[in-house]
């Protein structure tokens, strides 16, 4: 047996309040078990998902990011999920240019009644990212404290 613990991916999930987060709640009350690797962040709408959240999560240690929203046509705010879909297309293309595997960032439409889909998608994604291994971004030089902080400290 090897001493190195098996790699356990960290996935940050952004779920919209009205559909996917409710579905995750349902999965919980229905006692559906899924992989414990996901940290869920509730946002009001998938359209609120700023791509900055995705790159920041990846920089701060996420091996993958899962975005969940209402099915097309079902958005509580009419078209937030369509906005997300457009950003997602462009973001995926850009992440590829950074050498980031397609499977690390995933968008799923999950309605409030689809607790079982939450379970399936999370388990699938955790398995895929586990196979990919840790996301090894190039270390970013820590920004030197601005002189403002230098002066404040003095």
């Amino acid at each position: 047996m090897s001493d190195t613990p098996a790699f356990e991916p960290r996935i940050v999930a952004f779920f919209c309040n009205w559909c996917t987060y409710t579905a995750a709640d349902l999965a919980g009350t229905a006692r559906l078990t899924y992989a414990p690797n996901v940290r869920v962040v509730r946002i009001m709408c998938s359209g609120r998902l700023d791509p900055q959240f995705v790159v920041t999560a990846l920089r701060q240690g996420a091996d993958g990011v899962l975005i969940g929203g209402c099915h097309p046509g079902d958005c509580h705010y009419q078209e937030g999920n369509y906005k997300m879909l457009r950003r997602f297309h462009l973001l995926k293309r850009m992440l590829k240019q950074f050498g980031i595997d397609d499977q690390r960032v995933r968008l799923e439409w999950i309605s409030a009644s689809e607790g079982d889909k939450v379970q399936r998608v999370i388990n699938e994604m955790v398995a895929q990212v586990r196979d990919l291994g840790p996301l090894a971004l190039v270390g970013k030089p820590t920004p030197h404290p601005d002189a403002s902080e230098k002066h404040a400290a003095a």
């Binding site: 700023d50 950074f98 190039v138 002189a147």
Partner: protein, 321 residues
């Protein structure tokens, strides 16, 4: 009264920022009258030993342009940081990595191989690469070493102010010099330009629709550009809404969509991701195929959105192969 001592230095840069100082035209004479330029290797004959001979803090202000990519540049900016009371990152390269920062999409090894072996005009049978030190009969010769990645100035040394732009517009430079001389610089860490978007200053802003909808992004060579209408509304990739103003929206005025050189507004953490978000959001398409077709006019998203800020971005560089 003794005049404040000022220095200018350049690192990984194109020379455009040096040119921008000269572009002050007659106003540069006022600057020269008010300050003592004691270090400016691009324009006058100064040596590193001149800087080393200065007392710490002797330079009132040092303007540094260019990104940091070599061991020599890092030594110089550390030295200048010690000698200067105020360091101003001058231009996009110093502020956020700029055009040289795009090198973080490739690797040092790939760059060296391309330059010293792969280009068609290179003949290098012994695979001679530059070395940090080499012995010759006369002694040891040394060369600066290329870093693995490109850094923005603020990632190498603490920076007091940022003067944005590629290069910084003459007005922003003149305002900054004025503020230095009058002692009215804002809080350290500030960007010395207004915290509003380029659209704010754009001559086309009246034609920018309330609800922006674009069915197809296009590249400038593919369309006859209407000289009065908002460029984004015409489907051109104009980053004006996401980019800090201070340039007088000179590019849109010249029929050229904004490419984002003045960088992010204060409230933005990652310029590229934010600009991508804004652009994709105005696309008027709902089906996957229509979305891809509409976005086909953005063939190189990473290069488009991080053109001036890759090293300052969250992702910083491409993943190693």
């Amino acid at each position: 009264m003794t005049k404040p001592k000022v220095g200018f230095y350049w690192c990984a840069s194109c020379g455009g920022c040096e040119e921008a100082v000269v572009d002050l035209h007659e106003a540069i004479l006022d600057v020269v009258a008010a300050v003592d330029i004691v270090f400016w290797p691009c324009a006058m004959d100064f040596k590193r030993t001149d800087v080393e001979a200065m007392a710490d803090g002797e330079l009132a202000v040092c303007f540094i342009n260019g990104a940091v990519r070599t061991s020599e540049q890092f030594e110089m900016v550390e030295l200048l940081r010690r000698k200067a009371g105020v360091v101003i990152a001058f231009g996009a390269c110093a502020q956020s990595g700029g055009i040289p920062g795009l090198a973080n999409f490739t690797s040092k090894a790939a760059i060296l191989a391309n330059v010293y072996e792969d280009t068609r005009t290179t003949v290098n049978p012994h695979k001679t690469y530059p070395q940090a030190t080499v012995q010759v009969p006369e002694g040891t010769l040394t060369l600066p070493v290329l870093d693995e990645t490109v850094r923005a100035l603020g990632q190498a040394i603490p920076v007091d102010y940022y003067l944005p732009g590629c290069p910084p517009p003459a007005k922003l430079i003149a305002d900054a010099v004025g503020a230095i001389l009058a002692g009215t610089l804002p809080a350290p860490g500030s960007v010395l330009a207004p915290n509003v978007g380029v659209c704010h200053e754009c001559t086309r802003k009246e034609t920018k629709p309330e609800k922006m909808l674009v069915t197809q992004f296009k590249r400038p060579h593919q369309v006859l550009i209407d000289p009065a209408q908002c460029l984004l509304a015409q489907g051109l990739v104009c980053l004006g809404p996401d980019t800090r103003s201070g340039c007088g929206a000179a590019c849109p005025a010249g029929n050229m969509p904004c490419t984002g050189c003045l960088g992010a507004l204060d409230q933005v953490r990652d310029f590229g991701a934010k600009a991508l978000s804004g652009l994709a959001s105005v696309l008027d398409a709902g089906e996957d195929a229509a979305i891809d077709a509409g976005l086909a006019g953005v063939p190189d998203p990473a290069g488009t959105f991080y053109r001036y800020s890759l090293p300052a971005s969250e992702l910083f560089a491409k993943l190693p192969e």
